[in-house]
Assembly symmetry: C2
């Protein structure tokens, strides 16, 4: 029984590989046959071709993906902040002082401008206040419930349906070619944990994110880990190559991002020897998604844009290179 089962699995894997190799085009239907698709296909063919001078053995085929703005949308603000704001409303009865205290007061009044005025410091304060004190299991449950029910304020869609269809296809294409895929995101590791596997097919042990300190203690004879407000790693900008070091321990051969927060990851990846690949998603489709770059305070793409141009990294125009943006939306 056991061996038969393995045989079936094995045949399925074989079929998947055969399909991908034979008709690779068919698993990328949301990509126009323009420069970006040609570029990543050429890279993949080169590094997977045995005997080629640029062949990369499967265990070294590490690809890292940013999440916000690269795998799913990030406007009008990072989705984790919607979660934090919803948590403020849930927790407000226990914190009467929040009515007078920024940035909480702005959240409770629904005053997005006031909230924007609190800047990054305010954002970190919101996250610290709403992501702590729970045990890791409680937090995971809260996130699971939120992600299953919350809706994006302008599209009304579940957040997990605001992922980019072409990127899902790209993940499948890389996987079919033996790549091991990691998310390397500024988002919280415990915010991503509960839903990334179902949404992207990436298991939690392949997710690198920002993390806070945890306190281990016994409650009623059972061990729990309680989330503390102190930061351990901010996995953004220069924190990304650091997170890659402590979580992956080897240099990726391909990296995918969309903003200046990904610059150092792309630099780090492409500075390795042998064939390397870097891709930046440019949000230039105001009609189907959002259009923003050099001046945006969410997902600012400025230094990384210049570097991409100078180094010949692949830049995707969402408007011109993608047939579909969100799953099921033409």
């Amino acid at each position: 029984m056991r061996i038969q089962f393995k045989l079936v699995i094995c045949s399925l894997v074989l079929l998947a590989v055969a399909t991908a190799a034979a008709i690779g085009d068919d698993i990328l239907p949301s990509w126009r046959d323009s420069a970006p698709r040609k570029a990543f296909r050429a890279f993949v063919e080169k590094v997977t071709k045995e005997g080629s001078p640029e062949f990369v053995p499967a265990p070294e085929r590490i690809a890292t993906f940013d999440n916000d703005g690269t795998l799913w949308a990030e406007q009008p603000m990072y989705f984790q902040f919607f979660f934090a704001m919803d948590r403020v409303k849930v927790l407000a009865p226990q914190h009467p002082e929040w009515k007078q205290k920024e940035p909480f007061a702005s959240v409770l009044r629904g005053d997005m401008k006031g909230l924007a005025g609190a800047g990054e410091k305010g954002a970190l304060e919101l996250v610290a206040a709403t992501h702590t004190d729970l045990t890791t299991e409680e937090f995971s449950k809260v996130v699971s419930e939120w992600i299953a029910t919350a809706r994006h304020p302008t599209t009304g869609r579940p957040f997990t349906e605001m992922v980019f269809q072409p990127m899902l296809e790209l993940l499948a294409y890389l996987r079919a070619n033996g790549f091991k895929i990691f998310i390397v995101s500024g988002g919280g590791i415990e915010f991503m944990g509960p839903w990334v596997e179902k949404t992207y097919g990436i298991p939690p042990e392949q997710v690198v994110g920002s993390s806070g300190k945890l306190k281990f203690e016994m409650r009623d004879g059972s061990p729990v880990r309680v989330k503390l407000p102190e930061v351990e790693l901010i996995d953004d900008g220069p924190g990304k190559p650091a997170g890659i070091q402590s979580h992956i321990g080897r240099r990726p051969v391909a990296a995918f991002g969309n903003s200046d927060g990904d610059l150092q990851m792309l630099q780090w990846t492409t500075a390795g020897s042998g064939a390397r690949f870097a891709l930046i998603v440019h949000h230039d489709d105001a009609e189907r998604e959002w259009a923003y770059d050099h001046e945006s305070h969410i997902g600012k793409l400025d230094k990384a844009w210049d570097e991409a141009k100078a180094r010949g990294w692949t830049v995707v125009s969402m408007k011109d290179d993608w047939v579909t943006i969100f799953p099921g939306v033409k």
Copy 2:
């Protein structure tokens, strides 16, 4: 060609699985057929049996192993300290002040008692002074060179041959049964990175360890990550369930350790629902290895011993349960 190659690989995988299921006994020759072997085999059979109420799907078959004292020896002191001491000697010409300054002076005089007197604080100081300032690539090179040439002071063997043969077999047995194995060690992640894959067959992305902060910077147009003396995570004791959270993101079903530093990892693992397994290696073989437990300052086994007895965790007697300890040494 490509598909044929995959077919061959696939057949080999199939063969490996079939072989393991049929003749599992044969891959554990260094284990006597005593209680510990019976216990972990019963656990593995239970969680891999499809249709059984305790079946665990392959992606959730996470097993975590401590390194020092569990996969390789740790006497007369943690092997990473031998590395640190050798580094002190290499770096001494650049630090004339070390001749008068503890714990460096003791190291340079070869005074192990003086060094022991500096305690844990002294040890951390040694590590900080000898593990920083280098880029991650330089450090990796230094470790690779050291591990290839250094010898254990009493056995004269390379450190990578002071691994435990029965544990290598156990890793192979678990892998053949679909387990994904992680090292979760108090040792430095960058100290382990260069040699664990070759020694244990565990890739660097499955190694959780203590880590320090890194500084990302450009040197001559190339990005480097420089090791700083500040600690990010001490992956020992309560730090182990924290490291498991940020690196693995799910609770292991089996955990293996040897000392009080592993207690919280074993508690965390066994507190999950469904079948769980915890094993402690007891160093009780003064003739073939070392004998130490409750009173030792390296690898102290005291609270974890009591907990193992109270909770029925599996305890391995190196003396009674292992035919062989080190590879090639009867």
